[in-house]
Protein backbone atom coordinates (compact mmCIF):
# COMPACT_ATOMS: atom_id res chain seq x y z
CA UNK A 1 0.00 0.00 0.00
CA UNK A 2 2.24 2.79 -1.16
CA UNK A 3 1.34 6.24 -0.02
CA UNK A 4 2.76 7.96 -3.09
CA UNK A 5 1.97 6.99 -6.63
CA UNK A 6 4.57 4.89 -8.35
CA UNK A 7 5.94 7.45 -10.74
CA UNK A 8 8.44 5.43 -12.70
CA UNK A 9 7.41 5.61 -16.31
CA UNK A 10 4.50 7.94 -15.48
CA UNK A 11 2.42 5.52 -17.50
CA UNK A 12 -1.20 4.59 -17.90
CA UNK A 13 -3.47 2.22 -16.02
CA UNK A 14 -6.50 0.48 -17.52
CA UNK A 15 -9.23 -0.30 -14.99
CA UNK A 16 -12.24 -2.61 -15.24
CA UNK A 17 -15.28 -2.39 -12.94
CA UNK A 18 -18.21 -4.87 -13.02
CA UNK A 19 -19.33 -4.99 -9.38
CA UNK A 20 -22.99 -4.34 -10.11
CA UNK A 21 -25.17 -3.32 -13.07
CA UNK A 22 -22.81 -1.28 -15.22
CA UNK A 23 -19.91 -2.52 -17.29
CA UNK A 24 -17.09 0.03 -17.03
CA UNK A 25 -13.53 0.53 -18.25
CA UNK A 26 -11.24 3.55 -18.03
CA UNK A 27 -7.69 4.68 -18.62
CA UNK A 28 -6.09 7.00 -16.07
CA UNK A 29 -2.52 8.35 -15.97
CA UNK A 30 -0.31 8.04 -12.90
CA UNK A 31 -0.78 11.73 -12.15
CA UNK A 32 -4.56 11.25 -11.94
CA UNK A 33 -5.52 12.59 -15.35
CA UNK A 34 -8.50 10.71 -16.83
CA UNK A 35 -7.78 9.70 -20.43
CA UNK A 36 -11.06 7.80 -20.93
CA UNK A 37 -14.02 6.71 -18.79
CA UNK A 38 -16.48 4.36 -20.51
CA UNK A 39 -19.70 3.24 -18.82
CA UNK A 40 -22.10 0.86 -20.57
CA UNK A 41 -25.34 2.75 -20.61
CA UNK A 42 -27.71 -0.16 -21.12
CA UNK A 43 -29.94 -0.26 -18.08
CA UNK A 44 -29.12 3.25 -16.93
CA UNK A 45 -31.82 4.85 -19.04
CA UNK A 46 -34.27 2.13 -18.10
CA UNK A 47 -33.46 2.52 -14.45
CA UNK A 48 -34.65 6.10 -14.49
CA UNK A 49 -37.83 4.99 -16.21
CA UNK A 50 -38.46 2.57 -13.38
CA UNK A 51 -37.69 -0.60 -15.33
CA UNK A 52 -35.55 -3.17 -13.60
CA UNK A 53 -32.17 -3.33 -15.33
CA UNK A 54 -30.70 -6.61 -16.38
CA UNK A 55 -28.19 -7.56 -13.72
CA UNK A 56 -26.93 -10.65 -15.43
CA UNK A 57 -23.27 -11.50 -15.47
CA UNK A 58 -24.10 -12.42 -19.06
CA UNK A 59 -24.79 -8.74 -19.70
CA UNK A 60 -21.24 -7.92 -18.53
CA UNK A 61 -19.84 -10.73 -20.65
CA UNK A 62 -21.50 -9.34 -23.77
CA UNK A 63 -20.25 -5.81 -23.20
CA UNK A 64 -16.85 -6.12 -21.56
CA UNK A 65 -14.76 -6.55 -24.72
CA UNK A 66 -16.30 -3.53 -26.46
CA UNK A 67 -16.13 -1.37 -23.36
CA UNK A 68 -12.41 -2.15 -22.88
CA UNK A 69 -11.68 -1.52 -26.58
CA UNK A 70 -13.50 1.83 -26.39
CA UNK A 71 -11.61 2.87 -23.26
CA UNK A 72 -8.24 2.09 -24.89
CA UNK A 73 -9.18 3.74 -28.21
CA UNK A 74 -10.51 6.92 -26.56
CA UNK A 75 -7.29 7.14 -24.53
CA UNK A 76 -5.24 6.64 -27.70
CA UNK A 77 -3.32 3.74 -26.22
CA UNK A 78 -2.92 -0.03 -26.56
CA UNK A 79 -2.46 -2.86 -24.08
CA UNK A 80 1.33 -3.25 -24.50
CA UNK A 81 1.79 0.44 -23.68
CA UNK A 82 0.09 0.17 -20.27
CA UNK A 83 1.79 0.17 -16.87
CA UNK A 84 -0.74 -2.27 -15.48
CA UNK A 85 -4.38 -3.33 -15.29
CA UNK A 86 -6.62 -2.64 -12.31
CA UNK A 87 -9.85 -4.42 -11.48
CA UNK A 88 -12.56 -4.23 -8.84
CA UNK A 89 -12.16 -7.34 -6.71
CA UNK A 90 -15.17 -6.63 -4.45
CA UNK A 91 -17.50 -6.08 -2.82
CA UNK A 92 -20.34 -6.87 -5.19
CA UNK A 93 -22.22 -9.68 -6.88
CA UNK A 94 -19.58 -12.41 -7.17
CA UNK A 95 -20.68 -13.66 -10.60
CA UNK A 96 -20.59 -10.10 -11.99
CA UNK A 97 -17.23 -9.27 -10.39
CA UNK A 98 -15.70 -12.44 -11.81
CA UNK A 99 -16.39 -11.28 -15.37
CA UNK A 100 -14.18 -8.25 -14.73
CA UNK A 101 -11.57 -10.20 -12.76
CA UNK A 102 -11.27 -12.91 -15.43
CA UNK A 103 -11.00 -10.33 -18.22
CA UNK A 104 -8.37 -8.32 -16.36
CA UNK A 105 -6.34 -11.43 -15.59
CA UNK A 106 -6.43 -12.61 -19.20
CA UNK A 107 -5.43 -9.21 -20.63
CA UNK A 108 -2.69 -8.70 -18.04
CA UNK A 109 -1.29 -12.21 -18.43
CA UNK A 110 -1.22 -11.95 -22.23
CA UNK A 111 1.06 -8.91 -21.96
CA UNK A 112 2.82 -9.93 -18.72
CA UNK A 113 1.49 -6.78 -17.05
CA UNK A 114 1.02 -6.40 -13.31
CA UNK A 115 -2.55 -6.58 -12.00
CA UNK A 116 -3.86 -4.27 -9.28
CA UNK A 117 -6.86 -5.61 -7.31
CA UNK A 118 -8.94 -2.69 -6.02
CA UNK A 119 -11.66 -2.47 -3.38
CA UNK A 120 -14.75 -0.79 -4.82
CA UNK A 121 -15.05 1.54 -1.81
CA UNK A 122 -11.40 2.61 -2.05
CA UNK A 123 -12.44 3.51 -5.60
CA UNK A 124 -15.25 5.77 -4.34
CA UNK A 125 -12.70 7.50 -2.09
CA UNK A 126 -10.16 7.79 -4.93
CA UNK A 127 -12.76 9.50 -7.17
CA UNK A 128 -11.75 12.54 -5.11
CA UNK A 129 -8.07 12.13 -6.08
CA UNK A 130 -8.38 12.64 -9.85
CA UNK A 131 -7.41 15.71 -11.86
CA UNK A 132 -8.29 18.49 -12.38
CA UNK A 133 -9.68 19.01 -8.87
CA UNK A 134 -8.16 16.55 -6.40
CA UNK A 135 -8.60 16.87 -2.65
CA UNK A 136 -5.67 16.02 -0.35
CA UNK A 137 -6.03 13.90 2.80
CA UNK A 138 -6.83 14.17 5.61
CA UNK A 139 -10.56 14.62 5.08
CA UNK A 140 -13.88 13.02 5.98
CA UNK A 141 -15.89 11.32 3.25
CA UNK A 142 -19.53 10.27 3.10
CA UNK A 143 -20.05 7.52 0.53
CA UNK A 144 -23.74 6.97 -0.15
CA UNK A 145 -25.02 4.83 -3.01
CA UNK A 146 -27.52 2.10 -3.78
CA UNK A 147 -25.30 -0.57 -2.27
CA UNK A 148 -23.20 1.24 0.33
CA UNK A 149 -23.42 3.94 2.98
CA UNK A 150 -20.42 4.77 5.10
CA UNK A 151 -18.62 7.64 6.72
CA UNK A 152 -14.82 7.45 6.79
CA UNK A 153 -11.73 9.37 7.83
CA UNK A 154 -9.32 9.38 4.90
CA UNK A 155 -5.81 9.71 6.32
CA UNK A 156 -3.75 9.18 3.18
CA UNK A 157 -4.24 7.95 -0.40
CA UNK A 158 -3.59 4.28 0.35
CA UNK A 159 -5.83 1.23 0.32
CA UNK A 160 -5.35 -0.07 3.86
CA UNK A 161 -8.55 0.00 5.95
CA UNK A 162 -8.63 0.37 9.70
CA UNK A 163 -7.80 2.72 12.53
CA UNK A 164 -4.07 2.51 11.78
CA UNK A 165 -4.56 2.37 8.03
CA UNK A 166 -5.29 4.86 5.27
CA UNK A 167 -9.08 4.80 5.58
CA UNK A 168 -10.82 4.47 8.94
CA UNK A 169 -14.53 3.71 8.76
CA UNK A 170 -16.29 5.80 11.42
CA UNK A 171 -19.79 4.57 10.72
CA UNK A 172 -21.74 2.49 8.22
CA UNK A 173 -25.30 1.41 7.64
CA UNK A 174 -26.81 -1.24 9.89
CA UNK A 175 -29.43 -2.24 7.32
CA UNK A 176 -30.26 -0.45 4.05
CA UNK A 177 -27.99 1.83 2.04
CA UNK A 178 -29.18 5.44 1.52
CA UNK A 179 -29.75 4.92 -2.21
CA UNK A 180 -31.76 1.83 -1.42
CA UNK A 181 -33.86 3.83 1.07
CA UNK A 182 -34.73 6.23 -1.79
CA UNK A 183 -35.63 3.32 -4.09
CA UNK A 184 -37.73 1.52 -1.50
CA UNK A 185 -39.51 4.71 -0.46
CA UNK A 186 -40.36 5.27 -4.11
CA UNK A 187 -41.84 1.80 -4.28
CA UNK A 188 -44.02 2.45 -1.22
CA UNK A 189 -45.26 5.64 -2.90
CA UNK A 190 -46.15 3.75 -6.08
CA UNK A 191 -43.34 5.30 -8.12
CA UNK A 192 -42.00 1.94 -9.32
CA UNK A 193 -38.72 0.33 -8.44
CA UNK A 194 -35.98 1.44 -8.48
CA UNK A 195 -37.55 4.88 -8.32
CA UNK A 196 -35.08 6.91 -6.27
CA UNK A 197 -34.64 9.56 -8.96
CA UNK A 198 -38.45 9.79 -9.44
CA UNK A 199 -38.91 10.27 -5.68
CA UNK A 200 -36.28 13.02 -5.65
CA UNK A 201 -38.00 14.85 -8.53
CA UNK A 202 -41.38 14.60 -6.82
CA UNK A 203 -39.90 15.76 -3.50
CA UNK A 204 -38.96 19.08 -5.11
CA UNK A 205 -42.69 19.88 -5.34
CA UNK A 206 -43.54 18.89 -1.77
CA UNK A 207 -43.27 20.24 1.76
CA UNK A 208 -40.40 18.58 3.68
CA UNK A 209 -42.01 19.62 6.99
CA UNK A 210 -45.40 18.07 6.20
CA UNK A 211 -44.68 14.77 7.95
CA UNK A 212 -42.26 14.01 10.78
CA UNK A 213 -40.35 10.84 9.92
CA UNK A 214 -37.75 9.36 12.29
CA UNK A 215 -34.15 10.47 11.84
CA UNK A 216 -31.55 7.80 12.68
CA UNK A 217 -33.48 6.68 15.71
CA UNK A 218 -32.03 4.02 18.02
CA UNK A 219 -28.64 3.75 16.36
CA UNK A 220 -25.60 4.49 18.51
CA UNK A 221 -22.34 6.14 17.45
CA UNK A 222 -21.86 7.15 13.84
CA UNK A 223 -23.72 4.24 12.24
CA UNK A 224 -26.74 4.74 10.00
CA UNK A 225 -30.10 3.01 9.86
CA UNK A 226 -32.86 3.48 7.31
CA UNK A 227 -35.04 0.47 8.02
CA UNK A 228 -37.22 2.20 10.63
CA UNK A 229 -37.79 5.10 8.25
CA UNK A 230 -39.02 2.70 5.59
CA UNK A 231 -41.52 1.19 8.03
CA UNK A 232 -42.63 4.66 9.17
CA UNK A 233 -43.45 5.56 5.57
CA UNK A 234 -45.34 2.28 5.09
CA UNK A 235 -47.45 2.91 8.22
CA UNK A 236 -48.08 6.51 7.15
CA UNK A 237 -49.37 5.43 3.73
CA UNK A 238 -51.63 2.85 5.39
CA UNK A 239 -52.92 5.47 7.83
CA UNK A 240 -53.64 7.96 5.03
CA UNK A 241 -55.25 5.41 2.72
CA UNK A 242 -54.72 5.08 -1.00
CA UNK A 243 -56.51 8.25 -2.11
CA UNK A 244 -54.92 10.57 0.45
CA UNK A 245 -51.48 9.02 -0.11
CA UNK A 246 -51.88 9.76 -3.82
CA UNK A 247 -52.94 13.35 -3.07
CA UNK A 248 -50.09 14.00 -0.61
CA UNK A 249 -47.44 12.06 -2.50
CA UNK A 250 -45.16 15.06 -3.09
CA UNK A 251 -45.30 16.00 0.62
CA UNK A 252 -44.60 12.40 1.61
CA UNK A 253 -41.65 12.25 -0.80
CA UNK A 254 -40.23 15.56 0.42
CA UNK A 255 -40.57 14.63 4.10
CA UNK A 256 -39.09 11.18 3.51
CA UNK A 257 -36.17 12.67 1.56
CA UNK A 258 -35.60 15.17 4.35
CA UNK A 259 -35.34 12.33 6.87
CA UNK A 260 -32.70 10.56 4.74
CA UNK A 261 -30.72 13.78 4.24
CA UNK A 262 -30.92 14.65 7.97
CA UNK A 263 -29.84 11.13 8.97
CA UNK A 264 -26.75 11.48 6.79
CA UNK A 265 -25.98 15.10 7.66
CA UNK A 266 -26.26 14.71 11.43
CA UNK A 267 -23.75 11.85 11.41
CA UNK A 268 -21.37 13.95 9.31
CA UNK A 269 -21.81 16.86 11.69
CA UNK A 270 -21.02 14.65 14.67
CA UNK A 271 -17.99 13.07 12.97
CA UNK A 272 -16.60 16.54 12.27
CA UNK A 273 -17.02 17.48 15.92
CA UNK A 274 -15.46 14.24 17.16
CA UNK A 275 -12.47 14.17 14.80
CA UNK A 276 -11.91 17.92 14.44
CA UNK A 277 -11.48 17.36 10.70
CA UNK A 278 -13.35 19.97 8.72
CA UNK A 279 -12.56 19.06 5.15
CA UNK A 280 -15.44 17.03 3.70
CA UNK A 281 -15.99 15.09 0.50
CA UNK A 282 -18.93 13.03 -0.74
CA UNK A 283 -19.14 10.18 -3.21
CA UNK A 284 -21.51 7.52 -4.49
CA UNK A 285 -24.66 7.99 -6.56
CA UNK A 286 -26.60 9.72 -3.76
CA UNK A 287 -24.01 12.56 -3.90
CA UNK A 288 -26.03 13.80 -6.89
CA UNK A 289 -28.95 14.60 -4.57
CA UNK A 290 -29.44 18.39 -4.50
CA UNK A 291 -30.90 18.79 -0.99
CA UNK A 292 -28.10 16.58 0.45
CA UNK A 293 -25.43 18.76 -1.15
CA UNK A 294 -27.15 21.94 0.10
CA UNK A 295 -27.44 20.56 3.61
CA UNK A 296 -23.78 19.48 3.69
CA UNK A 297 -22.62 22.81 2.21
CA UNK A 298 -24.21 24.51 5.22
CA UNK A 299 -21.82 22.43 7.34
CA UNK A 300 -18.82 22.65 5.03
CA UNK A 301 -18.96 25.44 2.44
CA UNK A 302 -16.00 23.96 0.53
CA UNK A 303 -17.64 20.50 0.27
CA UNK A 304 -15.76 18.47 -2.32
CA UNK A 305 -18.09 16.79 -4.85
CA UNK A 306 -16.57 14.89 -7.77
CA UNK A 307 -18.36 15.23 -11.14
CA UNK A 308 -21.50 13.10 -11.36
CA UNK A 309 -19.93 10.48 -13.65
CA UNK A 310 -17.27 9.85 -10.99
CA UNK A 311 -19.86 9.52 -8.19
CA UNK A 312 -21.90 6.72 -9.75
CA UNK A 313 -20.09 3.43 -10.44
CA UNK A 314 -17.24 3.94 -12.91
CA UNK A 315 -13.80 2.54 -13.70
CA UNK A 316 -11.85 5.84 -13.58
CA UNK A 317 -12.16 5.82 -9.80
CA UNK A 318 -10.84 2.23 -9.76
CA UNK A 319 -7.83 3.26 -11.85
CA UNK A 320 -7.34 6.25 -9.57
CA UNK A 321 -7.34 3.98 -6.51
CA UNK A 322 -4.95 1.55 -8.24
CA UNK A 323 -2.32 4.32 -8.33
CA UNK A 324 -2.11 3.93 -4.55
CA UNK A 325 -2.70 0.17 -4.19
CA UNK A 326 -0.29 -2.76 -4.31
CA UNK A 327 0.25 -4.28 -7.78
CA UNK A 328 0.62 -8.05 -8.10
CA UNK A 329 3.25 -9.26 -10.59
CA UNK A 330 2.57 -11.99 -13.18
CA UNK A 331 1.74 -14.82 -12.52
CA UNK A 332 0.83 -14.20 -8.86
CA UNK A 333 -2.63 -12.91 -9.73
CA UNK A 334 -3.86 -15.91 -11.71
CA UNK A 335 -5.55 -17.35 -8.61
CA UNK A 336 -7.15 -14.01 -7.60
CA UNK A 337 -10.81 -14.38 -6.52
CA UNK A 338 -13.67 -11.91 -6.05
CA UNK A 339 -15.37 -11.19 -2.72
CA UNK A 340 -18.87 -10.11 -1.62
CA UNK A 341 -19.62 -7.44 1.02
CA UNK A 342 -19.83 -9.78 3.98
CA UNK A 343 -16.42 -11.27 3.21
CA UNK A 344 -14.66 -7.94 3.31
CA UNK A 345 -14.05 -8.11 7.04
CA UNK A 346 -14.51 -4.43 7.86
Amino acid sequence: MSERPNRDGGGLLLAIETSCDDTCAAVVARDGEIRSNVISSQGVHDRYGGVVPEVASRHHLELIETVVEDALAQAGTTLPQLDGIAVTQGPGLVGALLVGVATAKALAAAHRLPLVPVDHLHGHVAASFVQPDPIEPPFLILIASGGHTLLAHVKDHGARWGRDGSIEVLGSTRDDAAGEAFDKGARLLGLGYPGGPALQRLAAEGDPEAFAFPVAAQVPGLDFSFSGLKTALLYKTRELGEEETERRRADLAASYQRAIVETLARRVERARAETGIERLAIGGGVAANGPLRERLRRLAPDLHVPPRELCTDNAAMIASAARFAQPVAFPGYLSLDAYSSGERGL
Binding site: C20, V52, G95, T173, E180, K184, Y193, S341, E343, L346
Partner: protein, 151 residues
Amino acid sequence: MSPRRPSLPAGAHRTAGPEETEALAARVAAALEPGDVVLLSGDLGAGKTTFVRGAARALGVEGAVTSPTFTIGQRYHGRVGVSHLDLYRLGDLADEDPALLADYLTPERIAFVEWPRAAEPALADAGVTVAARVRLEHAGGDARVITVEPV
Protein backbone atom coordinates in the same frame (compact mmCIF):
# COMPACT_ATOMS: atom_id res chain seq x y z
CA MET B 1 -24.52 -40.93 18.35
CA SER B 2 -24.39 -37.43 16.96
CA PRO B 3 -26.23 -34.79 18.99
CA ARG B 4 -29.74 -34.21 17.73
CA ARG B 5 -30.45 -30.81 16.29
CA PRO B 6 -33.31 -28.88 17.87
CA SER B 7 -36.37 -28.81 15.62
CA LEU B 8 -37.61 -25.68 13.83
CA PRO B 9 -39.89 -23.44 15.90
CA ALA B 10 -42.91 -24.06 13.65
CA GLY B 11 -45.97 -21.83 13.69
CA ALA B 12 -46.80 -18.16 14.19
CA HIS B 13 -44.77 -16.07 16.66
CA ARG B 14 -45.36 -12.51 17.76
CA THR B 15 -42.17 -10.48 18.34
CA ALA B 16 -42.21 -7.09 20.08
CA GLY B 17 -39.14 -5.66 18.33
CA PRO B 18 -35.95 -6.35 16.37
CA GLU B 19 -34.25 -8.08 19.34
CA GLU B 20 -37.03 -10.65 19.62
CA THR B 21 -37.06 -11.12 15.85
CA GLU B 22 -33.31 -11.83 15.96
CA ALA B 23 -33.81 -14.25 18.89
CA LEU B 24 -36.47 -16.19 17.00
CA ALA B 25 -34.17 -16.31 13.96
CA ALA B 26 -31.42 -17.76 16.17
CA ARG B 27 -33.77 -20.61 17.13
CA VAL B 28 -34.45 -21.26 13.44
CA ALA B 29 -30.69 -21.18 12.73
CA ALA B 30 -30.02 -23.77 15.42
CA ALA B 31 -32.15 -26.26 13.49
CA LEU B 32 -30.37 -25.73 10.15
CA GLU B 33 -27.50 -27.61 8.59
CA PRO B 34 -25.26 -26.95 5.59
CA GLY B 35 -27.17 -27.14 2.31
CA ASP B 36 -30.35 -25.82 3.92
CA VAL B 37 -32.17 -22.85 2.40
CA VAL B 38 -34.71 -20.64 4.17
CA LEU B 39 -37.13 -18.69 1.97
CA LEU B 40 -38.27 -15.34 3.39
CA SER B 41 -41.28 -13.25 2.41
CA GLY B 42 -42.80 -10.06 3.75
CA ASP B 43 -43.44 -6.39 2.95
CA LEU B 44 -40.76 -3.73 2.81
CA GLY B 45 -39.56 -3.08 6.35
CA ALA B 46 -41.14 -6.27 7.70
CA GLY B 47 -37.78 -7.34 9.12
CA LYS B 48 -36.37 -9.83 6.62
CA THR B 49 -32.83 -8.48 6.93
CA THR B 50 -33.21 -8.26 10.75
CA PHE B 51 -34.25 -11.91 10.78
CA VAL B 52 -31.26 -12.94 8.66
CA ARG B 53 -28.95 -10.91 10.93
CA GLY B 54 -30.19 -12.85 13.97
CA ALA B 55 -29.72 -16.16 12.21
CA ALA B 56 -26.27 -15.20 10.90
CA ARG B 57 -25.13 -14.13 14.39
CA ALA B 58 -26.29 -17.47 15.78
CA LEU B 59 -24.23 -19.18 13.06
CA GLY B 60 -21.11 -17.31 14.16
CA VAL B 61 -21.08 -14.39 11.71
CA GLU B 62 -19.53 -11.23 13.14
CA GLY B 63 -19.59 -7.76 11.61
CA ALA B 64 -22.37 -5.99 9.73
CA VAL B 65 -25.20 -7.94 8.13
CA THR B 66 -26.90 -5.52 5.75
CA SER B 67 -29.51 -5.55 3.02
CA PRO B 68 -28.38 -7.37 -0.14
CA THR B 69 -31.00 -5.71 -2.37
CA PHE B 70 -28.52 -3.80 -4.48
CA THR B 71 -25.77 -6.37 -4.83
CA ILE B 72 -28.30 -9.29 -5.01
CA GLY B 73 -26.21 -11.41 -2.66
CA GLN B 74 -23.89 -11.31 0.35
CA ARG B 75 -21.69 -14.12 1.64
CA TYR B 76 -20.53 -14.36 5.24
CA HIS B 77 -18.03 -16.51 7.11
CA GLY B 78 -19.42 -18.03 10.30
CA ARG B 79 -19.00 -21.50 11.77
CA VAL B 80 -20.54 -22.39 8.43
CA GLY B 81 -20.71 -20.31 5.23
CA VAL B 82 -23.84 -18.14 5.24
CA SER B 83 -25.43 -16.65 2.09
CA HIS B 84 -28.06 -13.92 2.00
CA LEU B 85 -29.79 -13.34 -1.32
CA ASP B 86 -32.40 -10.79 -2.36
CA LEU B 87 -33.76 -11.59 -5.79
CA TYR B 88 -36.22 -8.72 -6.03
CA ARG B 89 -34.25 -6.91 -8.72
CA LEU B 90 -33.85 -10.00 -10.84
CA GLY B 91 -37.57 -10.48 -11.52
CA ASP B 92 -37.12 -13.91 -12.95
CA LEU B 93 -34.02 -15.86 -13.70
CA ALA B 94 -35.00 -16.91 -17.21
CA ASP B 95 -32.43 -14.61 -18.81
CA GLU B 96 -29.71 -15.22 -16.26
CA ASP B 97 -26.67 -17.40 -16.39
CA PRO B 98 -27.65 -20.54 -14.43
CA ALA B 99 -24.33 -20.18 -12.57
CA LEU B 100 -25.28 -16.74 -11.23
CA LEU B 101 -26.38 -18.11 -7.87
CA ALA B 102 -23.89 -20.98 -7.80
CA ASP B 103 -21.51 -18.99 -5.59
CA TYR B 104 -24.26 -18.55 -3.00
CA LEU B 105 -26.30 -21.78 -3.06
CA THR B 106 -24.08 -24.75 -2.30
CA PRO B 107 -24.36 -27.92 -0.21
CA GLU B 108 -21.72 -26.44 2.16
CA ARG B 109 -23.57 -23.21 2.93
CA ILE B 110 -26.75 -22.16 4.74
CA ALA B 111 -28.70 -19.70 2.61
CA PHE B 112 -31.47 -17.18 3.25
CA VAL B 113 -33.37 -16.03 0.18
CA GLU B 114 -35.67 -13.00 -0.02
CA TRP B 115 -38.20 -12.70 -2.88
CA PRO B 116 -37.53 -16.35 -3.67
CA ARG B 117 -40.06 -16.92 -6.47
CA ALA B 118 -37.36 -16.37 -9.06
CA ALA B 119 -35.01 -18.83 -7.41
CA GLU B 120 -37.20 -21.87 -6.94
CA PRO B 121 -36.22 -23.60 -10.20
CA ALA B 122 -32.53 -22.81 -9.56
CA LEU B 123 -32.75 -24.27 -6.06
CA ALA B 124 -33.64 -27.67 -7.43
CA ASP B 125 -30.50 -27.73 -9.57
CA ALA B 126 -28.09 -26.51 -6.88
CA GLY B 127 -28.13 -29.57 -4.63
CA VAL B 128 -29.71 -27.65 -1.77
CA THR B 129 -32.84 -28.26 0.29
CA VAL B 130 -35.55 -25.80 1.22
CA ALA B 131 -35.78 -26.32 4.98
CA ALA B 132 -38.35 -23.67 5.85
CA ARG B 133 -40.47 -20.79 4.65
CA VAL B 134 -40.65 -17.73 6.89
CA ARG B 135 -43.33 -15.07 6.47
CA LEU B 136 -42.95 -11.73 8.28
CA GLU B 137 -45.84 -9.28 8.76
CA HIS B 138 -46.12 -5.86 10.36
CA ALA B 139 -48.21 -5.89 13.54
CA GLY B 140 -48.07 -2.20 14.48
CA GLY B 141 -44.98 -0.27 15.62
CA ASP B 142 -42.00 -2.58 16.03
CA ALA B 143 -44.15 -5.67 16.52
CA ARG B 144 -44.17 -8.42 13.91
CA VAL B 145 -45.96 -11.69 13.37
CA ILE B 146 -43.49 -14.25 12.04
CA THR B 147 -44.69 -17.58 10.72
CA VAL B 148 -42.17 -20.40 10.40
CA GLU B 149 -43.29 -23.22 8.16
CA PRO B 150 -40.95 -26.24 7.98
CA VAL B 151 -40.84 -27.82 4.53
